[in-house]
Amino acid sequence: MATQTKASAQRDNPKWEMVVDLDRCTGCQACVIACQAENNIPINEESAFHEHRAIQWIRIERYWEGEFPDVKARFLPLLCQQCDNAPCEPVCPVFATYHNNEGLNVQVYNRCVGTRYCGNNCPYHARLFNYWEPVWPEDLRNQLNPDVTVRTRGVMEKCTFCIQRIRRATRGGEPVEDGTLQPACAQACPTSALVFGNSNDPDAKVSRLKTDERHFRVMEHLGTDPSVTYLKQVDVDG
């Protein structure tokens, strides 16, 4: 009985985590665009890529291994790792970024004064700075998601695990059933490589997968304790 209560208490006090199965990922960019649509991310013009200032809360990194004919291209979807020991948090002079009790690394836009210390201290380059006032052509503004703030020039932004969806799903107070709450990227992912859930719920898929034998965390040796677990790609040497 006591254990049951404990388990349900853990479920009710969620810790949001994600698992990325690199064995499934095909690098198709569906998550990237889904995120852009959901989170009112400004359109990345050509110049943004030239200056390496494109804003993508989730991006697909591609790493080469070898050269033709023995060549491999590996894909790594990289988003804010929501580190439990986040390097970005202590360096913010105005406390614009902090860790909340759901395991989220929160960015408060109002507080942000744009020192960019946090971005510099993030080993994953997951934090992105608004170098320009985001502009949309007038008609395209109709698509903007009213649940998400449109950020202004001079503030840092990053993946929020679609906190607007979390807020919506948890508003009623009941525990969220596993699989019903998904950030835009996981919802779109055609191969279901992205799995999101409450790791305090021992029955959640994310809890099961994060201890899969293939698991690793990106740059774990830095001690960031990320909330995103990757599943190792298995390579078959024929």
Binding site: T26, N145, S192, D235
Partner: protein
């Protein structure tokens, strides 16, 4: 009076603060108004989100969508979890439909050219329909052509009925049409509809040239299966990609096998030879494929005879072919499956290649196997569909146009001025067409030449149905409904045809007032059948439920069995590349761009800004060159080269040094180089279709788009490619890998 310091400060203070008060306190105009619900249906309660199920079709794809709508505006596209093709998932192009609906450069009203070559003048819809009616009444129907992008479902029915009633010639257009694939499926399996591939339950997947995880047919649908193929309940599947280019599918594959462009069929035939001579496959199928003669009928394809032609300088002799054949036919794994398409079918011997590739399935029992995996056939569609006509037909049509034999050309999203090979001289031929009427939503190159534009709706604003092709293996009808009211003064293509049809007196053939009525008639027939996923006592209830679920499907309505294996040819067909090897040393293997496809999505900012998975390039057209080749030619990243084809045509493209590109191959993605097609697409990149030789597949007449050799000439210009990756090539550092890979021996 001199200005003292003190006075200056007083003024500056007053004016400075004043500026703050009277500027800083003013709220921007667009924020003062409560978000204005433009053209919002009045039954919608504002400020609350609604989800509408709809569907969007592509030439080989069908994605069921749920559109989140708030205050009459679409906010987000999500996959429809009920729809059997994509089951809740969606690709990047579907998401970007939002930007098509709200694109600032949409054609907002009907337009009419004041005089030939003059500017456009906005007109109202009554005038537009009247003008179209006048043009069609005055023209000789035999000299009228209706060209459209491929369509399925009710709209195809309406379009065909309109064309038939009037007597116009109806032609489908898609730059990369599926003619060869359809012909191969017909020849090898006797099926009219494209089959589905049960990738999830396949154990060994051999794919020839088909980038099924990137752009080929329905990537979202295939990716669903691929996820399970990799990490489902079963043993991890093994994927071999045979391709002359390193595609995203090749990147995902366990093994990428480079073959000389055009020799995919040769490799498949050599594998068949091995399987037949070693008795590894199904005996009855082996006998049928060889006409009862066994391996001796295929002696021309003995691995030792073809290995060099297949693998070229990369080595890997006959033994490699034999090993591939043995692996494929081995019983150690679950079901094996061979699929092919894309560049493998885009040579003069395209049909030969695809026939050989799909014939492999007969030998390993992959034709509708009882335990899943392999090919799943679809029931033939009862509803008409308009497929793209092969190049051969278009060549004839263009020459008719040039000769002045076409008086009226009606086009709907068939951008022939952009999409046909440049050597055909389409622009000049279109100049000899009396009147061009366009129904496109955007000012693409062909629409820019039009005399009258009746702008159509975007997919999220339209009524329609879709019968997916390929389907999920059983009869499926998806319903497309407007998730948002039309945002500009546009009219759906179907409604424009129905209205014009009424004016012309085709009421008998086109008995519907609107497209909605036509869709309801389709639904009524499904309701009366009393079968399938939605059954309701009354039609109105059925209609409501079917629209809510996004469609209707009947899992018991499956296809007829495949026909007996055909006899295979005894001699190889040549890929017949344009240009000789000395003057044009490189194979040009172009490919459908990951986002913008063959150019049809180039107007959408999200799609343009989505990095190519392999090169991470955005917003541009690039040339993939092997690093060694680049060194030999003294080419560097971002150098602009002239890519010249044997027909004398050339384009300027920027070099991307790609470690995975084979030494004698160069690749350019389709889709760039638009002249018009909104400010997003115009004057960006280069159009590789412009330089392609007009080579046809010998049997079907489809464009052999990979059948051109080219030469490269370095220029002094450099243009930096906009891309996600840094200026240094991103590689995994040994011992410090970002991605920790576990190697297992097979």
């Amino acid at each position: 009076m001199g200005l003292t310091r003190r006075r200056f400060l007083q003024w500056a203070g007053a004016t400075g603060i004043g500026a703050v008060v009277f500027n800083g306190c003013r709220v921007p105009d667009h924020e003062i108004q409560v978000q204005s619900p433009v053209q919002i249906p009045e039954d919608l309660v504002t400020g609350r989100d609604n989800y509408y199920a709809t569907v969007v079709q592509g030439p080989g794809s069908s994605e069921g969508l749920l559109v989140r709508v708030m205050e009459g505006r679409a906010k987000k596209v999500e996959g429809n979890p009920d729809y059997p093709m994509n089951t809740g998932k969606h690709g990047l192009r579907a998401e970007a439909l939002l930007q098509a609906a709200y694109h600032p450069d949409r054609i907002k009203t009907p337009l009419r050219r004041v005089a030939k070559g003059g500017p456009f003048r906005p007109i109202g819809w009554p005038e537009a329909i009247a003008e179209l009616t006048r043009v069609l009444t005055e023209a000789d129907p035999s000299r009228v052509v209706l060209a459209t992008a491929p369509i399925r479902g009710v709209l195809a029915d309406v379009t065909r009925r309109f064309a038939d009633s009037y007597g116009a010639r109806l032609v489908g257009f898609d730059p990369l049409d599926l003619t060869v694939l359809r012909a191969a499926i017909k020849r090898v399996f006797g099926q009219d509809a494209l089959p589905d591939f049960d990738i999830a339950r396949t154990g060994y997947l051999l794919s020839f040239g088909s980038d099924f995880l990137g752009t080929w047919l329905d990537p979202t649908h295939f990716a669903r299966g691929y996820g399970e193929f990799r990490q489902g309940d079963r043993e991890r599947g093994y994927l071999v990609q045979v391709d002359s280019r390193f595609s995203p599918t090749a990147a995902a594959a366990d093994e990428w096998v480079y073959v000389t462009p055009g020799s995919e069929g040769l490799l498949a035939m050599a594998m068949i030879h091995t399987i037949v001579s070693d008795g590894l496959g199904d005996d009855a199928a082996a006998s049928a494929l060889t006409g009862g003669r066994g391996a001796s009928a295929l002696s021309a394809f003995a691995p030792s005879a073809v290995a060099e032609r297949v693998f070229g300088e990369t080595g890997g002799g006959a033994e490699r072919i034999r090993k591939m054949a043995r692996d494929f036919a081995s019983a150690d794994h679950a079901q094996a499956l061979a699929i092919g398409g894309g560049s493998a079918g885009a040579y003069a011997n395209g049909l030969f290649n695809l026939t050989a590739i799909y014939a492999l399935n007969h030998l390993v029992g992959a034709v509708d196997p009882p335990n899943g995996g392999g090919l799943v056939f679809n029931p033939p569609s009862e509803e008409p569909r308009i497929t793209a006509a092969p190049l051969r037909e278009w060549k004839q049509l263009i020459s008719d146009m040039r000769a002045g034999a076409i008086d009226v050309l009606l086009v709907r999203d068939a951008n022939i001025d952009y999409g046909l090979p440049g050597s055909l001289g389409t622009r000049e031929a279109l100049g000899n067409v009396g009147t061009i009427v366009s129904f496109s939503s955007f000012l693409d190159e062909t629409t820019a030449l039009a005399d009258l534009i009746l702008p159509g709706n975007t997919p999220l604003e339209e009524w329609g149905t879709d019968i997916p092709d390929p389907g999920p293996g059983y009869r499926t009808v998806a319903f497309q409904q407007p998730a948002i009211n039309r945002f500009n003064d546009t009219l759906s293509f179907g409604d424009a045809l129905l209205e014009t049809g009424r004016e012309l007196g085709f009421g008998d053939q086109l008995p519907w007032a609107t497209m909605r009525d036509a869709v309801r008639d389709t639904a009524r027939a499904l309701h009366e059948s009393g079968r399938g996923s939605v059954t309701q006592p009354t039609f109105e209830e059925f209609w409501k439920r079917a629209l809510e679920r996004g469609g209707w499907w009947d899992m018991n309505a499956t296809a007829s069995a495949a026909s007996a294996p055909p006899q295979l040819p005894t001699a190889a067909a040549s890929p017949d590349l344009a240009g000789d090897e000395d003057q044009y040393p490189f194979f040009l293997v172009p490919y459908e761009a990951h986002g913008i496809g063959a150019g049809g999505f180039a107007h959408l900012p999200w799609v343009q800004s989505a990095p190519d998975p392999i090169t991470t390039v955005t917003w541009a057209t690039w040339l993939d060159v092997n690093p060694t080749t680049a060194r030999e030619l003294n080419l560097h990243q971002d150098d602009v080269v002239i890519v010249g084809a044997p027909n004398g045509r050339f384009i300027h493209v920027t070099v991307y040094v790609n470690p995975a590109t084979p030494p004698r191959v160069v690749s350019i993605p389709f889709g760039g180089g638009h002249e018009h097609f909104t400010g997003v697409a115009a004057k960006r990149g280069a159009n590789v279709l412009d330089i392609l030789a007009d080579t046809e597949d010998a049997e079907t007449g489809a464009l052999a788009w990979a059948g051109t050799r080219v030469r490269l000439t370095k220029t002094r210009t450099r243009v930096r490619l906009p891309k996600l990756e840094g200026d240094e090539l991103a590689v995994q550092l040994p011992g410090e890998e970002v991605i920790e890979v576990q190697h297992v021996r097979r």
